[in-house]
């Protein structure tokens, strides 16, 4: 095979690979395997957003975090995903963690128990929002 043909084929393969990378969504990351950027309790996380949302966004938004807190509610949202609410030590809000997958066993989840959740901090509404979460 002539070298020029090899080069053309090589460039075509690189082009296909680049196009594939650009046109394929990255999808959700594997939270369980992802490196944790921050570990803190729910009260501290909520306080950070409540006191200075801009600074807290810069610190936590988009980051994989592990949050420890007292479980105050387990609910299903409109898309049938489980949402765990952790006590934020504030009457006005909570840390709400939306689980990517339903836990295999919910019977261990007792309101009032201490749990640790790992997920991506999406931001702050009335509550601090953790998405793509898994229960540790």
């Amino acid at each position: 095979m002539k070298n020029s043909i090899k080069i053309i084929i090589g460039l075509a393969l690189v082009g296909v690979a680049v196009a594939y990378m650009l046109l394929t969504p990255k999808g959700e990351i594997n939270i369980t395997k992802a490196a944790t950027a921050h570990e803190l309790n729910a009260g501290a996380l909520y306080a950070a957003f409540s006191e200075d949302e801009t600074a807290a966004n810069a610190e936590y938004a988009g980051s994989v975090i592990e949050v420890k807190g007292i479980l105050t509610a387990v609910e299903k949202n409109d898309t049938d995903q489980f949402q765990l609410s952790l006590d934020a030590e504030d009457d006005l809000g909570a840390v709400v963690c939306t689980l990517t997958q339903a836990p295999a066993d919910l019977t261990n989840l007792e309101i009032g128990s201490s749990v640790t959740v790992k997920g991506i901090c999406t931001g702050y509404l009335f509550d601090v929002v953790i998405d793509q979460a898994v229960l540790l």
């Binding site: 409540s50 949302e53 966004n57 006005l92 702050y124 509404l125 009335f126 929002v129």
Partner: protein
């Protein structure tokens, strides 16, 4: 939606405003009847946007829009997380967050303002109340004064609301690359539907 510019100094940050509006909610949780003094809160309202461009139409939905409304004071706050907008096309959703909205830097969109109406909304009188909303709309970290119209509906003491307005990406420093300029409209139609009847 709303112009809050003149009073924004009285509420130096949005967290304070949100808390201010939410304080009566604690009491509301235990209240049996609704009155106009209470702050209504929704965590499951909806915002959609629609882009009509020569090459394609794009639509996205955010079903986790939050809002707080105090009818007596005529104050309203609507806030949503950009990452909660869902597209049919996952790649489009990814580009929206990473390339245009930079949602990890600017995670939320916020409107806060006041309702202006000559006919006060009466929680005891069913009907559609056409109102003007004035305030500040913050998208992509850019604040813009915003005035629009909305309909507040009262039915069986349940309150809902709807507003439709046009947002221009360039007004919020959202750059649309030339290569996709025929895919994304210069004017985006935004519809927010608030439902204070649940949660």
């Amino acid at each position: 939606m709303l112009e809050w510019a003149s009073s924004i100094q009285a509420f130096p940050n949005q967290n304070y405003m949100s808390k201010l509006l939410l304080l009566p909610l604690v009491a509301l949780t235990f209240a049996c009847s609704l009155n106009a003094q209470e702050t209504l809160v929704s965590r499951t309202s909806t915002t959609t946007f629609y882009s009509h461009a020569p090459l394609e139409d794009i639509e996205a939905v955010n079903n986790r829009t939050t809002a707080a409304l105090n009818l007596e004071k005529g104050e309203i706050v609507v806030k949503m997380l950009i990452k909660h907008f869902e597209f049919e096309n996952a790649l489009m959703q990814e580009h929206f967050n990473e390339n245009y909205m930079e949602s990890e830097t600017y995670p939320s969109a916020l409107f806060k303002g006041t309702i202006v109406t000559e006919n006060p909304i009466d929680i005891n009188v069913d009907g559609d109340y056409e109102v003007e909303v004035k305030g500040t709309l913050t998208i992509h970290g850019v604040e813009q004064a915003h005035t629009g119209v909305a309909t507040i509906t009262v039915a069986d003491r349940q309150v809902s609301g709807k507003t439709v307005f046009i947002a221009r990406p360039k007004d919020f420093d959202i750059e649309i690359p030339t290569v996709v300029v025929r895919n994304i409209a210069e004017e985006i139609e935004v519809t927010t539907t608030l439902d204070f009847g649940s949660k």
